[in-house]
């Protein structure tokens, strides 16, 4: 009985209680998971795939501004036997910024690149790095598109209009050509009410919602659902579409023909009329005889 009292005396219980309080506090502190892990990189700007080849040190570097097309191209080329003979990996970059294309093209880093002719000319990449066009998308015309009337190409017409343009300066139909036209018409661009959009789709939304009176873009199939073909005004003659350029350091014609064949196959799989109408450059005998547009 004495031991019972000694064990359960007030002091002992209070001591236990204090210990228990400390233990409970410690348990509470350690109960939750500690969130002390850095967030890993999840933003993808490139992808690497392995070919069946043994030349593991050689990378075929591709730059395409669009992520979807980039992945399709790399999938195709990874499976290609000619590519496998020469390269161990296919490294495709799509980036997120306009400036990326300047880096890849202007420095000659990319072996294969999808670029516009005007960019290629700006960096003189054809002569500097011997980039050669392999395949090009069909040329198109830049238009002013309006909702309620056919746009007129004179100074007075533009002065009280809200005009939708693209915010990236490499676009010919949505930025360069309309601005060049304003210059020709002696309109100070600062006096115009210009609203910028990030894409041709964004421009179309601006026009359809009535936020702008006219936009500068190209005409594509499906536009007649929203807009009238009678209310478009061409700004220029045909503009050549984007082209695939291959860096031809050496006379690697096998690679050229393999790339051309794969890109051609890919183009045929596309739904968009722009991307499935292609023109082949640097005739490869096999491709031309077998496939005619």
């Amino acid at each position: 009985m004495l031991s019972y009292q000694a064990f359960f005396g007030k002091r002992v219980i209070v001591t236990f209680l204090c210990t228990a309080i400390i233990i409970m506090f410690y348990t509470g502190i350690t109960r939750l998971d500690v969130m002390d892990k850095p967030v890993p990189v999840f933003l993808e700007i490139s992808e690497k795939c392995k070919t069946n080849g043994k030349a593991i040190e050689n990378n075929l570097i591709i730059y395409v501004p669009s992520e979807i097309i980039a992945k399709q191209v790399s999938n195709k080329l990874c499976k290609d036997p000619v590519v496998a003979k020469q390269y161990g990996n296919v490294l495709v970059n799509w980036g997120y910024k306009l400036g990326d294309s300047v880096e890849f093209l202007g420095k000659g880093v990319a072996d294969l690149i999808l670029a516009k002719e005007n960019i290629m000319q700006a960096f003189m990449a054809e002569s500097t790095y011997n980039y050669q066009a392999v395949l090009g998308y069909s040329s198109y015309t830049a238009f002013f598109i309006s909702l309620k009337e056919k746009p007129k190409l004179n100074k007075l017409y533009f002065l009280d209009k809200k005009i939708g343009l693209l915010d990236y300066p490499t676009s010919r139909s949505g930025h360069i050509l309309p601005k060049a036209l304003f210059k020709d018409l002696a309109i100070n661009i600062d006096n115009l009410d210009i609203i910028y959009a990030n894409s041709h789709e964004g421009l179309r939304e601006l026009l359809a919602s009535g936020k702008v009176d006219l936009i500068a873009s190209y005409w594509k199939n499906g536009d007649e659902k929203q807009f009238s073909k009678n209310y478009i005004q061409p700004i220029s003659k045909k503009i050549s579409g984007s082209k695939w350029y291959l860096k031809m350091d050496v006379e690697n014609t096998d690679l050229l023909c393999a790339v051309q064949k794969n890109l051609f196959d890919l183009a045929k799989e596309q739904d968009s009329t722009y991307f499935n109408h292609v023109k082949l450059f640097k005739a490869c005998v096999n491709n031309i005889t077998k496939k005619v547009l």
């Binding site: 236990f16 409970m24 410690y26 509470g28 502190i29 109960r31 967030v39 933003l43 959009a197």
Partner: protein, 309 residues
């Protein structure tokens, strides 16, 4: 019924005492987690910032709203996967969810311009603050301290009063009136000078000298005689007697008898506590036995109160 109420009450008190530190610990970790996850989110966002197509007035860039939203969705699924309680809500006016959540605003000071971001924090579900452990511990503590709880719940009731009196009964000896008073029954019994002095001296001696055996066959210890003389002098001072000091060693048995008789009367109604104050009689071995001890073995200082000391 009262008994169970008190047990439940003490259980709840224990539960509260144990639950609060636990919840506090959870809360502290949660707050620390929020800070850490905010810092990780900001780091990630700052590193990805050059890759985001954000609106920029100075360069006429409208920004790619869809791709930024897409980025935030990916970011959030990454955070969910990692178990973070935070979700990114807004980067520079581009929001992916409603604003009415618990939002924390941070500013990333980029070289071009400050970028304001908002992070939605979800509160920790309330059940996370509770656990079975404090509950079980509280039960254990109620079990351990059951005896104390029972005592505590009876405080103020008759049973306990007697129990407490048993522990600390008080015999009051008033030297001014030469009486012994039972503080419980307020019964006062007069006592003659000699036994009174001797008894007071005996109680005081016994509280301090437990190990000394007082035997009738031996002389009184000098300390005891001295104490008795001191109290006799005190009685003279109080004017009770003018006679000279008695010899306390003489007729000790008679003195003890007188004391016992008085104590018998004082504790008539409470005989069970008398033993503390009662100088033991010799049993069996005979009054002349050398083993007999008439000292008060169990007396404590708090048992006795002397008035007019």
């Amino acid at each position: 019924m009262l008994k169970y109420n008190k047990i439940i009450l003490s259980f709840l008190s224990f539960l509260f005492i144990l639950q609060v530190p636990y919840s506090l610990g959870i809360y502290i970790t949660h707050e620390a987690n929020i800070e850490k996850s905010l810092s990780h989110i900001q780091t990630r966002l700052a590193l990805d910032l050059p890759r985001l197509s954000l609106p920029d007035q100075t360069l006429n860039n409208v920004g790619d709203i869809e791709s930024v939203k897409n980025y935030m969705t990916k970011f959030n699924s990454q955070l969910t996967q990692m178990g973070f309680n935070a979700k990114i809500n807004t980067i520079k006016n581009i929001s992916i969810a409603a604003q009415d959540e618990n939002l924390v605003e941070r500013t990333l000071l980029a070289p071009s311009e400050p970028i304001v971001i908002k992070v939605a924090l979800s509160n920790l579900p309330i059940y996370e603050y509770f656990s079975l452990i404090p509950l079980l511990l509280a039960m254990l503590f109620v079990y351990l301290s059951l005896d104390h709880i029972v005592v505590w719940q009876n405080r103020g009731q008759a049973i306990l009063v007697t129990e407490e009196e048993k522990q600390d009964p008080i015999l009051i000896i008033n030297l001014k009136d030469k009486v012994m008073i039972n503080s419980e029954t307020h019964l006062s019994i007069p006592l003659a000078n000699k036994p009174l002095c001797f008894y007071v001296a005996l109680t005081e001696f016994c509280t301090t000298n437990k190990e000394i055996t007082l035997n009738q066959n031996k002389d009184l210890p000098p300390e005891l005689t001295e104490l008795a003389n001191k109290y006799f002098l005190r009685l003279i001072e109080l004017g009770h007697t003018v006679r000279k000091r008695p010899n306390f060693s003489n007729s000790l048995e008679k003195t003890l008898s007188e004391i016992r008789a008085a104590l018998d009367e004082v504790f008539t109604d409470t005989p069970d506590i008398k033993s503390i104050y009662y100088p033991p009689k010799a049993h069996g071995e005979g009054s002349r036995s050398k083993l007999h001890h008439y000292g008060l073995a169990s007396i404590q200082k708090q048992h006795i109160e002397i008035i007019g000391k």
